[in-house]
């Protein structure tokens, strides 16, 4: 009998995060009553203006930030701490990579923590270093790499743990436009190869439309919420210049303008 495939569904119900104690009087919510279901294998984008709480929501799914109310379950298990199943790609590679480790050692970090044998570690890191296109850079230190390459290291480093869910917090925000395009394309390719569930946070409408199957729009905080979800059924790789892309772009653009 074969085991049922893991669905890695994320269920979020009435999720809240408040930042002051009830004793101080009125509660302030960063996010309030968020309801969301993300299916296994889906590429979901959280889109919203700066400070709307999208990173907070992502950090709650990661288990870094505790909830103040509601439910947050992955495969029907309540999330209350970080776990290997939920990998995080941070916005700043410089603050999250380990500068004292080489590219390979960074990629093997999770495996080393799990005490995987050296030869196995090596073959796994080889595979993911190749997947993100960093062959030939294995023995370099992060400071010898460009911004885009550092983000590739981050990606390979989390993928080496074979997580079910990839949580990405504006990972390409600090890259130049050209590198960003390349990284977006490659991320889509990697996602289609690994079948991870991806939750991708961004404030860039075009990026959201290039990547996501569904795009959740977050309202301006405080007490922000996912107000609308746009389906994006365009086939990958997506063409920014196509009329369908353009009309979706305008639709979302108008959405934000109306909010102002």
């Amino acid at each position: 009998m074969s085991l049922p495939a893991k669905q890695n569904t994320i269920h979020i119900e009435q999720l809240r995060k408040s930042y002051s104690e009830p004793a101080a009087g009125e509660l302030h919510y960063i996010i309030k009553d968020v309801n969301l279901v993300i299916k296994g294998g889906e590429f979901f984008v959280l889109l919203g203006p700066s400070g709307c709480g999208k990173s907070t929501l992502l950090n709650m799914i990661a288990g870094f930030v505790s909830k103040s109310g509601g439910n947050l379950r992955v495969d029907n298990v309540e999330v209350n701490k970080p776990g290997r199943d939920r990998a995080v790609v941070f916005q700043q590679a410089d603050s999250s990579l380990f500068p004292w480790l080489t590219v390979r050692e960074n990629v093997e970090f999770g495996l080393r923590m799990k005490k995987t044998a050296k030869t196995e570690r090596r073959s796994i890191s080889d595979r993911y270093i190749a997947l993100v296109g960093l062959n030939g850079h294995e023995e370099k230190f992060p400071k010898e790499l460009s911004g885009g390459m550092k983000q590739r290291v981050q990606l390979a480093r989390v993928l080496a743990n074979e997580p079910a869910i990839l949580l990405m917090d504006e990972p390409f925000g600090a890259l130049d436009a050209m590198t960003r395009r390349t990284m977006q394309k490659e991320l889509v390719n990697i996602w289609r190869e690994t079948h991870n569930t991806v939750i991708f946070v961004t404030h860039d409408i075009q990026e959201a439309l290039l990547l996501g199957e569904r795009i959740g729009i977050m309202s301006v905080g405080p007490s922000s919420n996912i107000t609308d979800i746009y389906e994006n059924t365009l086939t990958y790789p997506r063409d920014v210049a196509s009329p369908e892309f353009y009309s979706l772009y305008n639709q979302i653009q108008r959405h934000f303008e109306e909010q102002d």
């Binding site: 990661a62 288990g63 870094f64 970080p82 776990g83 290997r84 939920r86 990998a87 995080v88 941070f90 700043q92 603050s95 999250s96 380990f98 500068p99 004292w100 480790l101 970090f109 999770g110 080393r112 923590m113 799990k114 230190f141 480093r157 989390v158 743990n161």
Partner: protein, 259 residues
């Protein structure tokens, strides 16, 4: 036109010649008893070398500094890591650290003699004291400036708390520890000279202090130079070690910086 002055060896030797010249000039003006010139300092040094006291004194001072400094650092590093990592301990320890670090080692000499005896223990204890707070404070600062993203990423890759300490916090703190240990070497020399002046029959501090009885200012100069060189060479050696061995942790040696 003035290109030749940019050549390093020319400018450096010119500088040294100028310094020696001014020094010698001072000796001429004020007399060798007040300012022993380069020549009489050299003669004094030769005298002390020949009867063997100089090397012995350098050896003993160096031994005290090394033992106290190594032991002090070995105690201070884990203490700094714990204080930095555990909030509860830090809340209690920080005011205490900031109170006691203003008390210079020299102020403790008498007490340490009473507590640890007049032998080597009291001097080594004094250097440990001189080392301890600098290393603790630097380590602590290092631990507290480890980026949250690093800890979070390690945690989400399955590292437990012990692994985070060992594989993230310690390596990220190494440049701070290194700086602390390096600064501590300076205070160790200061502490040992004070201790040897007051409570010892040997060592460079004793030489400097004792020379006053014979009004041998040239010997005092010899002692001062020895201290300078001892500090300089141990610091360079340590800096070189840091650059070679701890390079990957981001330790940069100030002394050996190249452009």
């Amino acid at each position: 036109m003035m290109k030749w002055i940019e050549k390093k060896w020319i400018s450096v030797s010119l500088l040294w010649i100028a310094i020696l010249g001014i020094w010698q000039l001072g000796a001429f003006i004020y007399g060798v008893d007040v300012i022993p010139g380069p020549w009489s300092t050299l003669k004094g040094g030769q005298e002390l070398l020949e009867d063997g006291t100089l090397l012995q004194y350098i050896g003993i001072s160096f031994y005290r500094v090394l033992i106290g400094w190594v032991l002090g650092s070995l105690v201070a590093i884990p203490v700094g890591l714990i204080i930095g990592k555990v909030n509860v301990i830090r809340i209690f320890a920080e005011p205490f650290l900031n109170f006691i670090r203003f008390i210079p080692p020299i102020a403790f000499i008498t007490l340490f003699l009473v507590w640890f005896g007049i032998g080597e223990q009291s001097k080594i204890a004094l250097i440990m004291y001189a080392t301890f707070f600098i290393v603790v404070l630097n380590t602590l600062t290092g631990v507290m400036s480890v980026e949250e993203d690093k800890i979070r990423s390690a945690r989400s890759m399955g590292a437990n708390e012990w692994q985070i300490l060992l594989h993230v916090i310690v390596p990220a703190t190494i440049p701070y520890i290194f700086t602390g240990v390096r600064l501590a070497m300076g205070t160790s020399y200061m502490a040992i000279i004070g201790a040897e002046m007051i409570a010892s029959n040997e060592g460079v501090g004793y030489l400097i202090w004792n020379s006053r009885l014979f009004f041998r200012t040239d010997w005092i100069f010899v002692g001062l130079f020895c201290l300078g060189f001892m500090g300089f060479f141990t610091d360079r050696l340590f800096g070189w070690f840091g650059k070679r061995v701890l390079y990957r942790y981001g330790v940069v040696s100030v002394g050996a910086r190249r452009r």
